[in-house]
């Protein structure tokens, strides 16, 4: 067992634990903070996969910018009565958890069948995750996708403006 695998194990367990806290906790602020912790764990997982740049972006954008927005929304909505949002029907819960366990079992069987543990990465892998290599790929091989994403973001911005405008003129 290598050191990378040890790190991977710790991070993976913590990531799952924080995700469970995020879903199960009744207090929305605690959920949001658990999600922040989860994003940090994910960033750590990216690091073990030699993707340094993605890891930094994960922390900057998700744990930084987006989670601030989420917490702001929670504060502005001023959620008080979470009991009302509770699922009333029992059988739905049971059915959903059965299906979920079945899905997890299926995924486990798939991945365990493929063998666990990290396969030997080439020494070149260390440069692939660096910004220079990423930028080179993005602006040569993936240039068309990059440009198409510009249209996608533009659509999203227009949507935000159209739907959030206060007055109808």
């Amino acid at each position: 067992m290598s050191l990378t695998f040890l790190f991977f194990g710790i991070l993976a367990v913590l990531a799952i634990a924080t995700a469970v806290i995020c879903v199960s906790n009744k207090n929305p602020v605690v959920s949001a903070m658990a999600l922040v912790a989860h994003f940090f764990m994910l960033a750590g997982l990216y690091l073990t996969l030699q993707a340094q740049f993605i890891a930094i972006l994960q922390i900057l954008i998700y744990a930084g910018a987006i989670m601030v927005l989420v917490i702001f929304v929670i504060m502005l909505l001023n959620l008080g009565d979470e009991e009302k949002l509770r699922e009333k029907t029992k059988y739905r819960k049971i059915l959903a958890s059965l299906l979920g366990i079945g899905f997890i079992a299926m995924l486990c069987s798939v991945y365990l069948g493929g063998g666990l543990g990290n396969k030997a990465t080439s020494p070149m892998a260390i440069t692939i995750g660096a910004p220079a290599a990423l930028g080179k790929e993005l602006f040569t091989n993936y240039l068309f996708a990059f440009e198409a994403i510009a249209l996608l973001l533009l659509t999203a911005i227009i949507g935000a403006v159209v739907l959030a405008k206060r007055k109808v003129d």
Binding site: V110, F144, A145, L152, T155, G159, V168
Partner: protein, 490 residues
């Protein structure tokens, strides 16, 4: 000789004009006509350039071969240009009919034209994708514009509800699609469709990941096309969104999702594989799709029977039409693919046309939409009633309208490949659908009106109705005009 610029011109043009519509919108905030004509010209130019590229493509010795550009990201096959023209046409039909409708219902049209252009550009990017990443980005551009368009009349609660439902479920289904694409990447180590095909042929794949990936992609695309277990959102969304937009979502959106099915199915199962596992998988996937298709047709048509609201009725019938289109994917032969192309064209013309007629007879705030209110429609508005009857006959699949030949090609394709039971189900569900399509015509012609229904001033919608009626008639009487073109791509 065709060079890269000419072949990529439709994509450049639609991208340029959608950006221009966004940029010029604030400059001409007083005079919206400028943006309206600019968008129309943009769509027309893109359609014409796609037509020219299609013409150049048919001149090449092997028109069924697709050539990739931009580092294997963009393919320039004949099918892509065919769908380009189709999407531009549906955009033009919607643009022609919407200004009057929206000024009557809502007073505001800012950003509307740019959203239509952006959604068409998303569909065109899908059509030209030679890479799963590009396909995904195209689907997302299209879907995002659709979410916004569904909620465009944001002072109306139903419209906002439609947008929210569509957005939440659409985002959820996108998760399935991305996970499926990731699985395919895990199985083959690439996202380029031609390389995926090659590695499946040469059997250098992880078959387990491939199976899961295909399953997840089927779920994701079924959501977008409103196929049976994932069709629940369709009636609410089409009912709640503005009427002309509902036509756009149900016709063009469905055609685009079907096209994504064709692109992925041809990449994965296109070449003859030596691998026994992939051969078995092919049989299984087709069986699953056949069951989904049969269930979609039956459920869509049977639920449409009991609807009181005409928009909901057409929404459920559009679910059924997704089932008919899926038959072409099940058949997976030349006749099936070209049948999908033909039926998409016919479906876009008749569905958008029917929704335009509804938008003209609709009163403020979704009044006058009950089917019972169409009683005696022909007495007051003989022309509109006649046009609506043509669309209904075509949707029901009666000759000599385009809908009949679309169904004919798809049904025969399914029979050719041995899916006789599927064809029997399809014929039975077509018979069920006669009841509500013909029922509407009987209401319009043979019953006396309760009230005198009014019809709004149509404006340019007349042009759109003329175009779609002419298309439904011409392709119904001379189906070979379209079929001869559609056949050479496969």
């Amino acid at each position: 000789m065709a060079n890269e610029t000419i072949l990529m011109l439709p994509l450049y043009l639609i991208g340029f004009f959608s950006l221009a519509a966004v940029g010029l919108d604030p400059l001409f905030s007083k005079n919206k006509k400028v943006i309206y004509y600019l968008s129309l010209i943009g769509l027309l130019e893109a359609a014409i350039s796609a037509g020219y590229a299609l013409y150049l493509h048919t001149l090449t010795p092997a028109p069924n071969i697709e050539i990739s550009y931009a580092k294997n990201m963009v393919s320039t096959g004949g099918m892509a240009y065919f769908f380009d023209i189709l999407f531009c046409l549906s955009g033009i039909l919607i643009l022609l009919s919407s200004p009057r409708y929206f000024t009557r219902e809502y007073k505001e049209l800012s950003e509307f034209y740019s959203l239509i252009l952006l959604s068409v550009s998303g569909m065109m990017i899908m059509a030209h994708s030679a890479n799963l990443l590009v396909l995904f980005i195209g689907i997302e551009i299209m879907s995002l514009s659709f979410y916004i368009l569904a909620g465009f009349i944001r002072i109306r609660i139903m419209s906002v509800e439609a947008a929210l439902k569509y957005f939440l479920l659409g985002a959820f289904s996108t998760g399935f699609l991305v996970y499926g694409i990731a699985m395919i990447y895990g199985a083959t180590g690439t996202l380029t469709l031609s390389v995926i095909q090659l590695s499946i042929q040469t059997n250098t794949i992880n078959s387990l990941y491939l199976t899961i990936g295909i399953g997840l992609i089927i779920i994701g695309l079924s959501f977008k096309a409103a196929i049976f277990p994932f069709h629940q959102w369709a009636p609410d969304v089409y009912h709640g969104s503005p009427t002309v937009i509902a036509g756009f979502l149900s016709a063009a959106g469905k055609a685009a999702a079907m096209m994504a099915f064709i692109i992925i199915a041809r990449a994965i199962f296109g070449g003859l594989s030596q691998n026994n596992f992939v051969k078995d998988l092919y049989v299984d996937v087709r069986l699953v799709l056949a069951v989904l298709s049969a269930a979609t047709m039956l459920i869509g048509n049977i639920t449409a029977l009991v609807q009181k609201n005409i928009k909901r009725m057409l929404a459920y019938s559009s679910v059924a039409h997704a089932g008919y289109l899926l038959m072409g994917v099940v058949a997976a032969n030349e006749r099936g693919w070209s049948g999908i192309l033909f039926y998409s064209t016919a479906y876009i013309l008749m569905q958008i046309g029917a929704f335009i007629v509804i938008s003209l007879s609709e009163r403020n705030d979704e009044q006058n939409l009950k089917i019972s209110e169409y009683r005696g429609f022909s007495k007051a508005h003989p022309y509109l009633a006649a046009i609506m009857s043509i669309f209904m006959f075509s949707l029901a699949g009666l000759p000599p309208f385009a809908g009949f030949f679309g169904k004919y090609y798809l049904f025969t394709a399914a029979v050719e490949t041995g899916y006789v039971w599927l064809t029997i189900v399809a014929v039975i569900s077509s018979l069920i659908s006669m009841y509500f399509y013909i029922g509407l015509i009987i209401k319009m012609y043979f019953e006396d009106p309760d009230t005198q229904p009014m019809v709004a001033e149509s404006g340019h919608a007349v042009l759109a109705l003329t175009l779609s009626t002419a298309g439904v008639m011409i392709f119904g009487i001379f189906p070979s005009l379209l079929m001869d073109i559609a056949k050479i791509f496969f």
